[in-house]
Symmetry: C2
Subunit: 350 residues, 2 copies
């Protein structure tokens, strides 16, 4: 049986080409049917020609959406005004169970806002969180959440992030007993700010493998499988890494070309950097899941190429198969209530 | 005239050798007299032999301190119990004007705590801040503060960090009109958390070149000369960078050795990485100044080598010559008062 995945055909910077080719790659290598969501008059001829070129009949369907949200549009405004955006129509397919998951390489803020609006949060989840998988020195991945700019979090929000991240690592990434840490400024117990200290007390009571505070460098060390932080800190960590990675690459490229002759150096560095990019590039990891909404929503990088789109579709189908939402729902519904700031959804009706 | 600099002889991981050799390098190339603070019976023969070896008479004096604070000691406890540590005695030389500045490559937390205690904060400064200079793509440095773990800051703290960082960039790094940004999660004005939004309003009223929000990647982009954040976020950004840099180096090394034959690859990468390290290594930048205390205190990395120690001494003497504390004191004393949470030190006596 094929798994139905809705794909925002208008998401990436170079849409719809990477989406069309990524959908074809996905259908040829994975057990999926892709619903390509975007303007049909524009997509139909391109898809036909791409399919004709490889001479294949593949399970790809076009779902018409006349609008789409641009990368530079302000999320809140775009989500409110564009009622027929490819994001909204794609996510509606998930809500109506016509698709088991949705992937977009578009505007992250708009994707999150649309998913929250169309799918709504799972019971017990106050704020859905965006999780990214980081490569580490040990080779095993590390889940960092929230990186979706949930700023000014309460300890209960971090607690929910921990539960969601742990389940992600366990059920999708197949880490048997994920080590969960709180991102802080020192390893000792008392180190941190008010938020992390209070969250630590909540984490200690959770049925997870909580390893206490970890530091920024542990995002890449492999010392933790799941690292929890508020969305402000997560965003800074992620974007600082982006900037650092770019600087290091530029500097090393310059060093290499100085070390040997310019031509040999350029050739070597091109080869080395391509190999390197394949290992580090987040697009290989297939995008970031929005955890805590009722349905599978994966958000990829705007620079996604064919392969990154295919990986996004793959991750969406893995999420659907892992039934992570059903498991999260069960997790949250069986948790003891009584958190001072949490919703009291499970109290018996008086 | 020579500038007197107190040097913690027992700071670095391999102390006192890098300190002794760094002091010699400094005295040979800079206009300084170094007060080497540490256990005299241990330092004297080593200094004599090092000086004898180069056959020089240099302005290096030993100031006896029988204790020192180890890298793994808890800062608060060590500062309280070790009353004759090399840090405390070195900083006392600054307080008593026997030295114009102090440099240590030791325990950062202990260095900051000792400096705050011995030197105390400048009037108008609620919390001294540790500033680091980051390399950028554009080649010009970027001052990031606070990275000294002042967690749970108020908007007024960030405002003071901005004033101090701006003066540092202007008077020591010689940036004519430093662009000052707030580290946040998006570039638009409303983006950020409660702290950054409130601080933005205060920054707008300062007589500085405030450029609004910047993002994590701007730490390395060269788009800002000074980036202000609370110490929690700054610490995460700095340590995330460390981790990322290590990961990128390891991965590129692996890529390089795969690309060409193992021996050539290893040789090339060794050369490239040495050149690279010289450009990126924070020790080349000479350590992080603690801004806002009454006196010059520069803190370097524990892994400092001879050259890094010399650079730390250089930065301490540059700070002393720039008279940054006098200028900060003037800056804060002429500022309008009336910040809700700030000290009201400048109100006329009733």
């Amino acid at each position: 049986m094929l798994i139905d995945i809705a794909l925002d055909a208008m998401g990436s910077d170079k849409a719809p080409e990477p989406e069309i080719r990524g959908a074809i790659l996905a259908c040829r290598s994975l057990n999926v049917r892709v619903h390509l969501v975007g303007p049909e008059p524009m997509l139909r001829p391109r898809l036909t020609s791409a399919l004709g070129f490889i001479g294949a009949r593949l399970p790809i369907e076009i779902v018409h959406a006349e609008e789409h949200i641009g990368m530079d549009e302000k999320a809140a405004h775009a989500v409110r005004t564009k009622r027929n955006s490819s994001m909204r129509i794609g996510l509606r397919l998930v809500k109506e169970k016509a698709a088991a998951g949705f992937f977009t390489a578009g505007n992250t803020g708009a994707g999150m806002a649309t998913a929250k609006m169309v799918l709504s949060a799972l019971p017990g989840v106050d704020r859905p969180a965006l999780a990214v998988v980081m490569p580490t020195l040990s080779g095993s991945p590390c889940v960092l959440l929230d990186v979706g700019a949930n700023v000014d979090c309460k300890p209960q929000n971090l607690e929910q992030f921990a539960i969601m991240g742990e389940l992600y690592a366990r059920s999708v990434l197949r880490v048997p007993r994920p080590r969960v840490g709180i991102l802080s400024v020192g390893e000792e117990d008392g180190k941190g700010n008010d938020l992390t200290r209070e969250a630590t007390e909540l984490f200690k009571r959770l049925p997870i493998n909580f390893i206490g505070n970890v530091e920024g460098r542990d995002i890449y060390s492999g010392n933790a499988d799941v690292i929890v932080c508020d969305g402000f800190v997560g965003n800074v960590a992620l974007k600082t890494s982006e900037g650092m990675s770019r600087l290091v690459r530029e500097m090393l490229k310059a060093s290499l070309t100085q070390t040997v002759t310019a031509q040999v150096g350029a050739l070597l560095s091109r080869r080395a950097f391509n190999a390197f990019r394949r290992r580090l590039d987040p697009s290989e990891y297939g995008g970031a899941p929005l955890l805590g909404v009722r349905g599978v929503c994966i958000i990829g990088h705007g620079s996604s190429n064919d392969r990154a789109i295919m990986n996004g579709i793959r991750v969406a189908s893995e999420f659907a198969q892992a039934r992570i939402n059903e498991r999260l729902e069960r997790e949250f519904s069986t948790r003891p209530t009584g958190h001072p700031d949490g919703p009291a959804t499970h109290l018996p009706i008086q």
